[in-house]
């Protein structure tokens, strides 16, 4: 398996913890692909655990009240 073939399957690997045997074989002998896989997983994990565009509670409340007021009036 080449690195390009490995990378083309990266999408599936990220969502599946148990890797196929041929993918495991490639990883065992290719440090570059191992780094790419691990750091890509880490990239997703970091973005998932840090909500970069979180709404402050005050804004959330203000928007929520405005939306519901308009809905109650029939928009």
């Amino acid at each position: 398996m080449t690195c390009s073939e490995f990378l083309a399957l990266l999408d599936d690997m990220i969502d599946t913890p148990e890797l196929r045997a041929d993918l495991k074989d490639h990883l065992a002998c290719c440090e570059h692909c191992e780094v790419t896989l691990n750091t890509t997983r880490k990239t997703i994990e970091i973005y998932r655990s840090h909500q970069i565009y979180d709404m402050p509670a005050s804004l959330r409340e203000r928007l929520h009240t405005a939306i519901m007021a308009r809905c109650k009036k029939g928009c």
Partner: protein, 208 residues
Amino acid sequence: MATIQPIAGTNEQHPDVALVERVRAGDVSAYDELVRKYERQVFRIAQHITQNREDAQDVVQDAFLKAYEKLDQFQGNSKFYTWLVRIAVNESLMRLRRRRTGKMVSIDEDVETEEGSVPRDLADWAPDPEQNYSRTELNRILRKTIKGLPPGFRVVFELRDVQGLSTEDTAEALSLSVPAVKSRLLRARLQLRERLTRYFRRKKGVEK
């Protein structure tokens, strides 16, 4: 009060469907539940596309009001959230076009980028690299990094990887094909990884 939980089996009715039915029957408080459940996610999508806080706030309001007005058009065969995202994405694109004085902006335009298809920077990361930055600094890095991607990549990454939507739901929400979502997601992931390597690489020796 109905609690909103993910559905366990595929044959069960999604809790949102019951809420939508209550709204249609005139119970506005059921819509309140839907707004509370999804307002933060909609805000994040709007921020990713518009990159402007005021616009994102307006998108949240407009998307929920539009969804309320059009609730009769909502078909039970798609998920309420997927349908809502589609409205929010269209509202976000409209705002973006207005700021760019009418220049066409679209999610489905496929941006060919050299970067990201093949990883170039293969340096490994430090263990727990985010620990080397303050929360504020890390937030700045993550925003700056994702901002460099095309809007269509940012929103696919947000929906699939951050919010955890399936590939199919992401495709439906963005009116894209499944292969287009997959291809964008792969490139978004690789580009983000590559850009974050600049900050998170394992340091050699003692470096400040």
